[in-house]
């Protein structure tokens, strides 16, 4: 058999993988079969090919038998292709002369019949043997990795990642779409289970971000375009105009005081509409950057062109307000990217049976966080929309979670925050609190103890899924109240519990534009819409796109400790790349055989990266290997077979197809 000029001397290694493969595939039979395939010099069975002794087999055989091609049949190449390439290289052979095929995920784990599984394994090995003969030695390209990172999202995840990277001496661009960083955590009052004040632990970090020389903070900005590849990303960021110069505003807030709107009139987004703001505003007092923003939708001057501009007057010499500001586009060049775009809460309008939006005294948990917060709309007093303090409060768990009709997943944090809110509401107002839950999920460190503490404090814990919240009374004591109808499954009775205020423990969902964002960065989303990690257990912060990492709730619901851990992990991954300084690019690029190329131009228009150009002198196509990503579409289209993709040439792919059809 011809194999690039050399007579192939192939070593075949079939892995038992313990009983994962050997339990269903008759491995010795496959090995015997392999011995008789063309070019095979040695064929072995081994328990764990990926282990050190397994790899040593390959290395020794290369030396001893003068092997020039290796086939490994074991688990998925997505797991261990690099392992066997490394072993091959250490054995003295070019690492691209190995072909790793899958007889575990594709065979032993998915077929019950031993006969069929063994036959299929043989076919796959046959395909591999025929293919590997056509493989050529290749050298991967090395590209430099810029020592700068982009962190998208300025919540606790983004802040942690940015600080970790900055401390390591890397330059970080932190992009946040809101006028301030802080994310959801800035809205909380206390955090579970320690009841630490959220602002107290968060704001020092926010300040550290602002002050760190290695961090460029871009708030009120969004990523518009991403180009390039690992180590060399080119990112376009659009800064929205705040109409206030960040470097001139000192945060005195005189402009807000002076605004022609004497009273705040517009819903304050930070307080979730529970309080009002003026067109010129600062989201909260400890905002970073500590500058005001002018909202073009509500500012009289920006909308109608007519206003006394008392704000400008109040600003005086500082001259920070500039109504002529335009959006700015910045072009950044970074080596790595970390996505920390967070979550959104479930909108309980989707579960109308709980009366959200219909009854004014039904709130979401996030709204209550603002109510109990001393810098919130009611100064931390638990006061309802009707101005009164509740005597009885019902907290309903799992709103928009664990529900086939809305979201099937468990949002992980709601049991804990519902208990926390129960504590805070009771502490502030003395109200009687009822928590209605399906299961009490408190698995973290100190969490079960927190639950016990709450139970001792006298919170009523009722195990039952609430059927409805209604204002139609059946008994005199229900008049004027919201009645929660629930089956108390622990005692087997349907109960009607009249309360003054209902709190819905809303679940966590992916951000509404997660699909758009992930396309920007060329990563995937899971079925539910969370960013997809490379491996749920072993690579939770990496993505399938090299150089792009994820951290925090954008990857799935989680609490603050887990978020911080992930952010540090993502930063560590990014640091590893940046410190290494360079990264090897897979050499599976396309190449043109100039003798065969007829200059038909078909390939040139096909390449999505513009990697193919036409050489006017030679009248043939030319591939720029630095731009080629190795998709192979040009190879498939070339009518003369002049274009060939390294590692996936026609010879290689076609012979594998033929081989698996034994």
């Amino acid at each position: 058999m011809k194999g690039n000029g050399e007579v192939p001397r192939i070593g075949v290694y079939v892995c038992d993988c313990g009983t994962n493969i050997a339990g269903k595939v008759r491995v010795p039979e496959v090995v015997e079969y392999a011995k008789n395939l063309p070019g095979v010099v040695v064929a072995r069975e081994y328990k764990y090919m990926c282990s050190d002794p397994g790899q040593d087999l390959i290395k020794r055989d290369i030396q001893e038998y003068g092997l020039n091609r290796i086939v490994v049949a074991s688990c998925s190449p997505l797991l261990h292709e690099h392992t066997f390439r490394k072993a091959t290289a250490e054995g003295g052979l070019n690492p691209y002369l190995v072909h790793h095929v899958n007889i575990r995920e594709d065979v032993s784990w998915v077929h019950d019949d031993e006969e069929e599984a063994t036959r299929k394994a043989k076919a796959i090995v046959h395909g591999a043997v025929l293919r590997v003969a056509w493989q050529k030695p290749l050298e991967p390209q090395s590209v430099p990795v810029r020592e700068s990172a982009l962190v998208v999202g300025g919540g606790i995840a983004g802040i942690t990642a940015a600080l970790t990277l900055a401390e390591a001496g890397k330059h970080v661009y932190l992009v946040e779409r809101e006028p301030t960083i802080g994310g959801h955590m800035a809205k909380f009052d206390k955090t579970f289970p320690t009841l630490d004040c959220a602002a107290c632990i968060l704001t020092p970090k926010m300040t550290a971000v602002k002050d760190h020389p290695n961090i460029t903070l871009l708030t009120y900005s969004e990523v518009e375009e991403v180009d390039g590849y690992v180590g060399n990303f080119k990112v376009k960021v659009r800064k929205k105009p705040r109409y206030v110069h960040e470097d001139r505003c000192v945060g005195c807030l005189e402009c807000i005081e002076a605004c022609v709107f004497k009273e705040p009139r517009f819903p304050n987004e930070f307080d979730l509409g529970l309080s009002k703001r003026k067109p010129v505003y600062i989201p909260f007092p400890q905002a970073v950057p500590p500058v005001v923003t002018i909202d073009p939708e509500t500012c009289l001057y920006l909308r109608l062109g007519k206003c006394k501009k008392t704000c400008v007057e109040a600003c005086g010499d500082r001259n920070a307000i500039d109504f002529d500001m335009q959006p700015e586009t910045l072009e950044l060049e970074v080596g790595t990217i970390i996505l920390a775009t967070g979550f959104k809460t479930f909108d309980p309008h989707r579960t109308p049976k709980y009366g959200y939006g219909k009854y004014p005294e039904v709130y979401t948990s996030l709204e209550i966080e603002r109510l109990v917060n001393s810098s919130g709309p009611t100064g931390g007093e638990v006061v309802m929309r009707n101005g009164q303090k509740p005597k009885r409060v019902g907290i309903i768990h799992c709103v928009g979670s664990r529900d086939k009709n809305t979201n099937p997943w468990c949002s992980k944090v709601c049991c804990m925050y519902s208990l926390k809110l129960a504590h805070l509401i009771h502490e502030r107002s003395g109200a009687e609190v009822y928590n209605f839950y399906i299961d009490m999920r408190t698995p973290g460190k100190g969490y079960e103890e927190f639950y016990n503490r709450l139970a001792k404090e006298g919170v009523h814990l009722i195990r039952g899924r609430v059927a409805e919240v209604t204002d139609a009374p059946l008994h005199p004591e229900e008049e004027g109240k919201l009645i929660i109808r629930v089956e108390d499954t622990n005692i087997g009775v349907v109960r009607r519990i009249p309360v003054d205020m209902v709190v819905l423990a809303v679940g966590l969902e992916p951000q509404p534009d997660a699909e758009d964002v992930r396309r920007l960065f060329n990563i995937s989303c899971s079925n539910e819409g969370w960013f997809l990690e490379r491996h749920p257990k072993l690579a939770p912060v990496e993505t399938f796109t090299d150089g792009v990492f994820v951290a925090g709730a954008c990857q799935g619901p989680k609490d603050i400790p887990e978020t911080v851990a992930q952010a540090q992990a993502a930063a560590a991954n990014a640091l590893a790349l940046m410190d290494k300084g360079s990264v090897l690019i897979e050499p599976n690029v396309a190449q043109v055989d100039e003798e065969l190329c007829s200059g038909c131009h078909i390939c040139i228009g096909l390449c999505p990266y513009g990697a193919i150009s036409f050489n006017e002198e030679k009248k043939v196509a030319e591939v720029n290997e630095a731009l080629c990503k190795g998709c192979g579409t040009c190879t498939a289209a070339c009518p003369s077979g002049a274009l060939s993709q390294n590692l996936f040439s026609d010879h290689e792919v076609f012979s594998e197809i033929m081989g698996v059809l034994l």
């Binding site: 209604t470 009374p473 059946l474």
Partner: protein, 293 residues
């Protein structure tokens, strides 16, 4: 299309007679083209599907086949009939084995199943033909000052809602407003009346009726309108038990929405079957009395 294939169903021939009469009268007065589906059979809305599912669906499918032969969409005032016919249609599409068996059965009767036939409720039909604006123009005796509770019942909201958003729909309220009457806000407008429970587990059914009636009275309603013969029956016929046995002396008339609409259109009360009610509809207001007499 020669007009809607009018499918009264068994209830409208019995206790729901006034629903049949009022729906026909209103359709005629508003120019909705319809003709009773000839030789229709019971849809099997009751317990039959718990006994022999395939035969039950074949029963319902025969009506679909008859309508297909005529080439007209079906209008079914009884939400239970509406449910069974719609469900049968969906299942015939989802389960090809069942479809095959039923097709064979119907073939022996010289009938065929065709493509999907629209099955509608009078609320939907009237909203399209002639439409609320047109109906507004034809109102002769506006029922001003009459406080009406819009009771949809459960089947129009689930499992096959007649509107896209059953929680926030106002289709029945719109009809009430068009008659000039006042809509009473009612939290229980799609809560179940108990259905067959009043017959099978009396206390449970009566309790459900009690909750509905009580809330209507609490809101100061003078009449409840319904869209379903079983709801109408439950809410009217059990008032002695549901209210009287709980020390509540008040009684409240329960009408079909088509009767209310018919009165406002100026149709004579006997034509609308108003004489058939156990609790007579006798509003005290002069204008309304005029409408009713």
């Amino acid at each position: 299309m020669s007009g809607y294939a009018y499918y009264p169903g068994c209830s409208l021939l019995g206790t729901g007679k006034s629903y049949d009469e009022s729906t026909r009268a209103v359709f005629e007065a508003l120019g909705v083209p319809f003709q009773e589906l000839e030789a229709w059979n019971c849809c099997g809305a009751t317990a039959y599907s718990s006994i022999d599912e395939c035969t039950a669906f074949a029963l319902a499918a025969r009506n679909l086949a008859l309508a297909h032969r005529r080439g007209d969409p079906i209008v079914a005032p009884c939400p239970n009939c509406y449910l069974v016919l719609t469900k049968t249609q969906r299942y015939l599409q989802q389960y090809p084995d069942m479809r095959q068996r039923i097709e064979q059965t119907l073939e022996r009767l010289g009938l065929q199943l065709g493509n999907e036939i629209p099955v509608r409720h009078p609320l939907q039909v009237l909203q399209e033909t002639p439409g609320l604006e047109e109906i507004q123009k034809r109102i002769q005796k506006p029922l001003k000052g009459l406080r009406v509770v819009p009771y949809y019942g459960c089947l129009l909201a689930r499992p096959f809602p007649i509107v896209e958003d059953p929680w926030n729909t106002t289709i029945l309220e719109d009809f009430i407003e068009v008659t000039g009457a006042e809509v009473v806000p009612y939290a229980y407008r799609t809560r179940c009346c108990g259905g067959a429970l009043t017959g099978v587990i009396r206390e449970a059914g009566v309790r459900m009726v009690h909750i509905l009636l009580r809330e209507a009275l609490r809101q100061g309603a003078q009449v409840i309108v319904t869209t379903c013969p079983l709801c109408q029956f439950n809410l009217e016929a059990f008032q002695q038990e549901a209210l009287g046995n709980n020390g509540i002396q008040e009684r409240i008339p329960v009408l079909y929405f088509t009767q209310l609409l018919g009165l406002a259109l100026g149709l004579p009360p006997e034509k609308l079957g108003l004489h058939r009610h156990l609790i007579p509809f006798q509003p005290r207001h002069a204008i309304l009395q005029e409408a009713v007499s």
